[in-house]
């Protein structure tokens, strides 16, 4: 695999996070927590991103799994992973 891709995390933005674009690429050398990822994103996207991400109805998705916010500290994001920030919606 291309080492450039391997060291990147692709972050996708859905719903209210679209104000930060459709997606964003971050280069990381080692695994990071969501807290650390949000800190890195805050640096490039501004403090409003952190505020939006910390709202109780914001949902974090790592690859194809929604992350339980209560167990967020147990989750590590590795280089090559895909992350998405969204609002979780029910049926309709």
């Amino acid at each position: 695999m291309d080492s450039g891709v391997k060291s990147k995390v692709i972050v996708e933005f859905y719903g209210p996070f679209r104000e930060y674009g459709k997606s964003h690429e971050l280069r990381i050398d080692k695994a990071v927590t969501f807290e650390e990822l949000i800190e890195l994103l805050e640096k490039s996207l501004g403090v409003s991103f952190r505020e939006r991400a910390m709202k109780e109805n914001s949902t974090y998705i790592l690859n194809s799994k929604i992350i339980n916010r209560k167990k967020i500290d147990d989750v590590l994001i590795h280089p090559g992973d895909k992350v998405a920030f969204a609002l979780l919606i029910g049926g309709g």
């Binding site: 996708e12 029910g90 049926g91 309709g92």
Partner: protein, 610 residues
């Protein structure tokens, strides 16, 4: 009685006889309203062997005790009958203003039997009812019917529930429309109205609803309305349910190509985000609703310029990605046709995706499709096919007008294997193999493949359970969801407000403040269990057994590969175990029939129990 109007209207369309009957308090305490009243009415009044499209079928509309009060988003009503689509209990709950209008007109519900000698509509105004000639309305769209009735009666405030041509043509997919964009969907209630020559029900009411404890209810509602404008409903207010598209795509549970895959390569093009930026013209609310979730799309260019349709996730998904279509204009046109001609968008989408798969597999030829190139992704063909389905037009329309299960029976050639149904009702927009608790909930639903009976998809989507496997513990999750949703659907409040109630105690508080019934949360849930069992008993009368509680063959026989899923499949032995776990939680036997002991405990008729 507080909360209730205390009476309902009984109509015999064959004789034209109409009478007002009192609502028994004992019955209201036992079945609460809405869904509970439908389940009990149908069980009491429809004998075994009844033909769903005969005059002997009973069609009923019920409100719940909160209709017409200030409880947020409480203006709904439910319509039920023996379903021509499934042969089991059929019902749908509609938003809009019909429910609160009926209560204001002095009735909790309407129970209709017989068949009118000629096209008619029922007009109810403040305690009075009359049958009126509808021959000038026959053949008209639902939208035209609403307007023509208001014009005829010179009253713009009249609320109308009506069928379109599909209901008149007795399509099993026919729904009932009110307030233009709100439907009693699923299970063919429009065909039941059509079979009775009943084109519409028009209602005008100006009365009040008395509640048990107004001061405390006002205080409580102040808080509820604040919560309705808070984070729990932001998703519905701003983006509407179409915002599900990208999330579900990322999770690999967005059905595409007739449920063959769980992702769609053009998801961005049909996402709620794209729709909001390019097509949404207006966001509309129901009466007493501070949320406003109804996103109205307008087509601004191309052959369907000027098309207007309300778009929710299910309609968008099943007429879009599930048909391989990424053209929002075509999808909006398809939804508008369904709404105006009176067909359920979920069933239409799944039926056409079935036809597209049959076409691509060579089981249907271009000639069978009246010259349409019915391949996946062809938006123009989608629109044409929807119109033919709604109007039963041509060879294709004749084949698919009653849904994909019946179409597969006609076509043969193993095409039933990819007819995505349970109890002959088309599956909702949730992938079976990557949301397996949801699949159990859909397949055990009393009205057929239904996402609204238990909300069981939530534990899968939120990652609370391993969504790629099943075990016996999932049955209890479905059981709990069904009992709670039976209460929500009997009150009737909008499911989008379920997040504003902190717990079941707060829902029980709603019942106490509105009706004065001294009900605890535990007793309320027991009522939910009673209601669900009453609906199940109706199905048992019409032959429901374990074999009816399975998903379609594709779930077990084909592995799913896409950008997220690498061979996802439901293991038959795991599903069997989960289904048995569900029956155990419900205290039903191995065939899914309630035990006499349970029925006695729930104070239900024990004659069909085991």
């Amino acid at each position: 009685m507080k909360g209730y109007a205390g009476k309902f209207l009984r109509v015999n369309l064959s004789t034209g006889e109409m009478k007002t009957e009192s609502l028994s308090e004992e019955w209201a305490r036992k079945f609460l309203g809405g869904y509970g009243f439908v389940a009990s009415t149908l069980y009491n009044e429809i004998p075994e062997g009844t033909d769903p499209l005969s005059p002997e079928n009973v069609l009923c509309l019920w409100t719940g005790p909160v209709a017409g009060t200030i409880i947020p988003v409480s203006s709904k009503y439910i319509m039920g009958a023996l379903s021509p689509a499934t042969g089991f209990i059929g019902f749908g709950i509609a938003s809009g203003g019909v429910g609160s209008e009926l209560k204001a007109a002095g009735f909790d519900g309407i129970v209709i039997s017989g068949k009118a000698p000629s096209p008619s509509y029922l007009y109810i105004q403040n305690g009075h009812a009359e049958l009126r000639d509808a021959s000038n309305l026959w053949g008209k769209s639902t939208w035209d019917t609403e307007e023509m009735i208001r014009e005829e009666l010179s009253d713009d405030e009249i609320r109308v529930s009506s069928i379109g041509p599909a209901g008149e043509l007795l399509s099993c997919l026919a729904n009932v429309t009110n307030d233009r964009n709100r439907q009693v969907g699923r299970s063919g209630m429009g065909a039941v109205m059509g079979s009775k020559n009943l084109k519409a029900i028009a209602i005008r009411g100006t009365g009040d609803v008395e509640v048990a404890n107004l001061d405390e209810l006002l205080e409580f509602c102040k808080d509820l309305y604040k919560r309705c404008r808070g984070p729990a409903t932001e998703k519905y207010r701003v983006y509407g349910t179409p915002a599900n598209v990208l999330v579900h795509n990322r999770l690999g549970c967005l059905p595409s190509y007739n449920f063959q895959k769980g992702t769609f390569e053009q998801a961005e093009a049909v996402s709620g985000e794209t729709m909001l930026a390019t097509m949404v013209k207006k966001i509309v609310a129901c009466p007493a609703c501070p949320i406003a979730c109804d996103h109205i799309n307008v087509v601004k260019e191309g052959p369907w310029t000027g098309t207007v349709a309300s778009m929710d996730y299910e309609s968008l998904e099943l007429l879009g990605p599930n048909c391989g279509v990424a053209d929002l204009n075509a999808i909006t046109k398809a939804v508008e046709l369904c709404d105006k001609l009176g067909v359920d968008t979920i069933s239409a989408g799944v039926t056409i995706s079935w036809a597209m798969e049959a076409y691509e597999k060579g089981l249907l030829t271009k000639d069978d499709c009246d010259g349409l190139d019915l391949r996946f992704g062809n938006g123009e063909a989608l629109v044409e096919a929807v119109e033919r389905l709604c109007l039963r037009e041509g060879k294709l329309g004749q084949l698919i007008a009653d849904g994909c299960a019946r179409a597969a029976e006609k076509l043969g050639k193993d095409s039933y294997k990819f007819a995505m149904v349970n109890k002959k009702l088309e599956w909702g927009a949730y992938s079976l193999r990557s949301l397996q608790t949801a699949t159990l909930g859909f397949a055990t639903s009393v009205r057929g493949a239904c996402y609204l009976r238990s909300g069981s998809y939530q534990v899968d989507v939120k990652g609370t359970v391993d969504r790629y496997h099943l075990d016996k513990s999932r049955g209890k999750i479905v059981y709990d969801g069904e009992n709670l949703y039976a209460i929500i659907d009997s009150l009737i409040i909008c499911k989008f407000t379920r997040g504003i109630y902190k717990d079941n105690d707060e829902l029980a508080k709603v019942i106490r403040l509105v009706t004065g019934f001294d009900v605890s949360a535990k007793e309320m849930i027991k009522t939910g269990e009673r209601i669900h069992n009453q609906a199940k008993l109706f199905n048992v009368r019409f032959g429901a057994r374990r074999e009816h509680d399975y998903p379609p063959p594709r779930a077990f026989e084909e592995r799913m590969y896409d950008d997220v899923n690498d061979g996802a499949i439901i293991l038959k032995e795991e599903y069997d175990e989960a289904l048995s776990g569900y029956y155990k939680a419900r205290r039903w036997n191995k065939e899914g029939i309630p035990t006499k002991a349970l029925l006695e405990e729930l104070d239900l008729d024990t004659s069909l129990g085991v």
